[in-house]
């Protein structure tokens, strides 16, 4: 196990290095000069040159690359090239809790709805209830998240006035404020995820119910719910957990768009803004962090997966 762990950790580090490298060189290939844009208003090419120099962009690319790698390893992600040159670490430290809040809330909402829905769907296979769940799940899967977000704003903020249309309130301002700002974005990105989980629970549940040992357990006269919860459900969870592993990826992708609709400056928005503004250090930093999270979550899921299902060998 520890050898497997070591191997996987090393692999993850290699992936991170590759990500860092790829992002670095691809960003340099992007057309568009942030410094010209920044001083467009003042029309001062010397100021642009000075800034380029201050950020080391006048140096050969390989020098920039090694500097960047060395600094990144030391935990220094540089500063934004815009405005007051806020450190990238600060930007990420501010925005990450927002994305995390949305993501966790979306995850909780999705799982709370999806697991019971999937179970019921499986137990009452082909009933009206099952069909209902299936159709709702497919609707959830098919709705663009930003569209759902807009519909929610129109209904609950502009129409009913129950929830604030935009913005984010940190937990320090109270749970109510935090929740009221995040519930709509969380629903918007949690919905497709809930649909996937519900479908997964249903199909893996059905499969487990078909297996011999569950049928044996039933024939032994155990209560239906007992069989279900003690025998079938834990087994059915295995593939579900795999999917939850990619939950973060899925929810993050949703957050990129939805954060833009709700004017919440989370990691997704930092990334998009960084790309549009060609704020190289910010994009590099944000992508490193985002992919670090993915790589880590994949690693954890694999461990979890291995722990739950002893049949999996550590190759």
């Amino acid at each position: 196990m520890s050898k497997y762990l070591l191997r996987r950790t090393l692999g993850a580090m290699v992936v991170m290095w590759a990500v860092a490298t790829l992002v670095f060189f691809m960003l340099r290939a992007v057309p568009g000069d942030p410094f010209t844009a920044m001083v467009f208003d003042t029309g001062d090419p010397t100021a642009a040159e000075e800034m380029r120099r201050a950020f080391g962009f006048d140096q050969p690319v390989y020098v920039q690359y090694f500097k960047y790698l060395v600094q990144a390893v030391q935990g220094n992600l540089g500063t934004s090239i815009y405005g007051s040159r806020v450190p990238v670490a600060t930007i990420i430290a501010e925005s990450f809790p927002r994305t995390l809040s949305i993501t966790v809330l979306a995850f909780l909402i999705a799982v709370t709805i999806a697991i019971p829905a999937g179970l019921i769907s499986a137990l009452y296979k082909y009933s009206a209830l099952d069909h209902g769940v299936t159709i709702v799940a497919f609707l959830g899967l098919s709705m663009p998240d930003f569209w759902l977000a807009i519909l929610l704003i129109i209904a609950f903020a502009a129409g009913l006035g129950w929830l604030p249309a935009i913005g984010y309130a940190p937990l320090s301002e109270g749970f109510g404020a935090w929740l009221s700002h995040l519930i709509m974005p969380a629903i918007a990105i949690g919905t497709p995820f809930a649909a996937i989980i519900a479908r997964m629970v249903r199909s893996s549940m059905l499969e487990v119910l078909r297996t011999e040992y569950v049928q044996v357990a039933s024939s032994k006269g155990l209560l239906r719910w007992q069989v279900l919860l003690q025998h079938a459900f834990p087994n059915a969870l295995i593939p579900v957990i795999t999917v939850m592993g990619i939950a973060l990826a899925l929810l993050m992708a949703g957050a990129v768009v939805v954060e833009n609709v709700f004017a919440i400056k989370g990691l997704g928005r930092v990334l998009i803004q960084g790309i549009l503004n060609r704020d190289y250090p910010v994009v590099q930093g944000a992508i490193l962090i985002v992919s670090g999270i993915f790589v880590l979550s994949n690693l954890i899921v694999d461990m979890l997966y291995a722990a739950i299902d002893p049949r999996i060998r550590y190759e």
């Binding site: 844009a37 010397t46 120099r53 007051s84 501010e94 604030p164 249309a165 709700f262 004017a263 930092v270």
Partner: protein
């Protein structure tokens, strides 16, 4: 409140203001009246009367109206950006930033609602006869939010900082300043290289000038530039007590502000909001009291006007928008704009150029793209500049919309009904996409020509524009408070936007070059006599219109939206700015 004209003194002021030869509004005014604390009430009123914008409201500003209630917490949304990237004047490059910084930091001067400079941290000033030496007496007893006293040293420090291109992006603003001297603890002298008419408005203005917006030495050293850019320390009406990028800014009342009557509010919270829909929802639901920042999308305005809880305060905005035509490309190639107009009109390329200017149905554009908010433009000088604006240009300019003439020109150039006309590419930054679609639609309709949109990220679009890498480009100018912002920055051969990054081997000039306009614009820059300056400004403006420096499109409308509970005095209504220190709750 009594009507202003019931007051005999105000009545006399009004009569005096109108008592002049309309062609010579400066009659009887001397140079001394151009020195400040403000331009002198009489001079201002005459300027206003001369430009036809004098209203009874202007007489109320001097007399103190019923004192507004003070206190309260104003929640504001800032349109047009996802974050307030910086509040450090040395780095500011957006209106929505300096609107806020100008409430935290002071400058030597500050413009009023007529775009005339008044003293801010400068108590008063004198100008030498040659117009080169400006001596300012600074306000005494002013202190920064951190307690440091404000002195001449701070002016010198700020100027030094702004001159260093590594620290400031505005070093060019000070290129005409030869020297700054400290004459005493509260006296400074600026020595200019050449007289500059726009010095008070363009260089020293605390909001839009940014090069002499006074920063705190002590705070900069204590916090470092990054933190200072988030929560700057200044002498202004509000202290910045919180700022998280993307989350917002909190301003709190500066108890020691040098004007005891300001600010009225205790606290202001500013949240940046990028999208129009959430913005509208926020003010309609009462989550915010006021929308500042960029003008809210024009499509929302009717909706706000219809809402009885909201006040929509509109006035002419500073700036001009245009469709730029690349003279180095067919079919509108023009090699020399110095030829007389009659000769140019014989050239095929110029005919097409003129057809594009004449075929631009500005009224339709304003209706479709701006939902009726805005004024057709025929030059770069905007109506907010009142005194300098040329109200007749709309009638006289050959750019005036004329469908028949435009089609005829195109036919003369060899493209009857647009037949055989190449498909043009219209460059626009992503935020102007809707607007550019309307332009394309109008040309298809009026001239029968096809235009493809090339939408690019702002960084790429600006680069392409400066490199002259476009057929047509849809780009305009934002914060033009002084004529220099329009004509010096845009309409000279050496203007900073005029093909700065073009390939100089193949292109002798950028989008336009004209010797006469260059000379006029240089001359007006140095002219401190307002009347003479206006004459030159308008003449240059006319030239750019007649010879189609670009197809001028429209001047936007400055729109402030707030809930009826907010009291926003007319005197504080400066286009492009949000004077939070004069706002109160009714």
């Amino acid at each position: 409140m009594t009507h202003p004209f019931d007051d005999p003194k105000l009545r006399a002021d009004f009569d005096d203001a109108h008592d002049f030869d309309s062609r010579d509004p400066m009659f009887g005014l001397h140079r001394s009246e151009l020195s400040g604390p403000v331009l002198g009430r009489r001079a201002v009123l005459r300027l206003l009367a001369a430009s036809g914008v004098l209203t009874a409201g202007h007489f109320l500003t001097g007399s103190t109206p019923a004192r507004a209630a003070s206190g309260g917490h104003l929640r504001a949304a800032w349109a047009g950006g996802g974050e307030i990237t910086t509040l450090d004047p040395a780095r500011i490059n957006q209106v929505l930033q300096f609107q806020i910084s100008s409430q935290i930091l002071g400058g030597l001067t500050h413009i009023n609602s007529d775009l005339v400079a008044e003293g801010d941290l400068a108590q008063d000033w004198t100008v030498s006869d040659d117009g080169l030496e400006w001596t300012f007496n600074l306000r005494e007893g002013v202190s920064f939010h951190n307690g440091d006293p404000f002195t001449a040293e701070d002016v010198l420090f700020t100027v030094e900082r702004s001159r260093d291109p590594e620290k400031s992006i505005h070093s060019r603003v000070l290129s005409n300043v030869a020297d700054v001297q400290k004459l005493g603890d509260h006296t400074v002298k600026f020595v200019l290289k050449a007289p500059q008419a726009s010095f008070l408005v363009k260089t020293l203005e605390r909001a839009s000038g940014r090069a002499v917006t006074i920063v705190s030495r002590g705070a900069l050293a204590a916090m470092g530039p990054a933190q200072y850019g988030l929560t700057p320390v200044g002498t202004g009406p509000f202290r910045c007590t919180f700022h998280e990028l993307g989350q917002g800014v909190v301003l709190e009342r500066n108890e020691n502000y040098h004007r005891p009557d300001r600010p009225l509010l205790d606290k202001v919270t500013i949240t940046p909001v990028l999208d129009p829909e959430p913005l509208a929802a926020a003010i309609e639901a009462g989550d915010v009291d006021l929308i500042g920042g960029a003008n809210p999308s024009s499509e929302l305005i009717d909706r706000f006007i219809a809402n009885p809880e909201l006040e929509v305060n509109m006035t002419a905005d500073v700036g001009f928008q245009a469709v730029w035509v690349n003279p180095h490309r067919d079919p509108f190639r023009v090699e020399n704009f110095d030829k007389p107009l009659e000769e140019l009109m014989k050239e095929k390329g110029f005919k097409v150029r003129m057809a594009l200017a004449k075929g631009l149905d500005r009224d339709r554009f304003i209706k479709q793209s701006e939902f009726g908010r805005g004024v057709p433009a025929y030059g770069s000088i905007n109506p907010a500049m009142g005194f300098f604006f040329d109200g007749n240009l709309g009638e006289d300019s050959p750019q005036k919309f004329d469908l028949e003439a435009a089609r005829q020109l195109l036919a003369d150039a060899g493209y009857p009904n647009g037949e055989g006309f190449p498909t043009l590419k219209l460059l626009c930054p992503a935020n102007l996409r809707r607007d550019a679609q309307v332009v394309a639609g109008i040309y298809k309709r009026t001239l029968g020509i096809s235009i493809e949109l090339v939408t690019k990220d702002i960084t790429v679009a600006l680069d392409d524009f400066l490199s002259m890498n476009f057929d047509l480009a849809r780009i305009g100018s934002g914060g033009d408070f002084d004529p220099d912002d329009a004509i010096v920055d845009w309409m000279q051969t050496g203007s900073k936007f005029n093909g700065l990054k073009r390939d100089k081997e193949t292109m002798a000039f950028g989008y336009w070059s004209n010797e006469e306009a260059d000379a006029l614009i240089d001359a007006q820059r140095l002219e401190t006599d307002l009347e003479k300056r206006r004459e030159m400004v308008q003449k240059a403006n006319r030239l750019t219109s007649e010879k189609v420096a670009c197809a001028f499109l429209f001047h936007p409308t400055s729109t402030l939206v707030y809930r009826k509970t907010v009291n926003y005095p007319a005197a504080a209504r400066i286009p492009g700015l949000v004077e939070l220190d004069q706002i109160s709750f009714a």
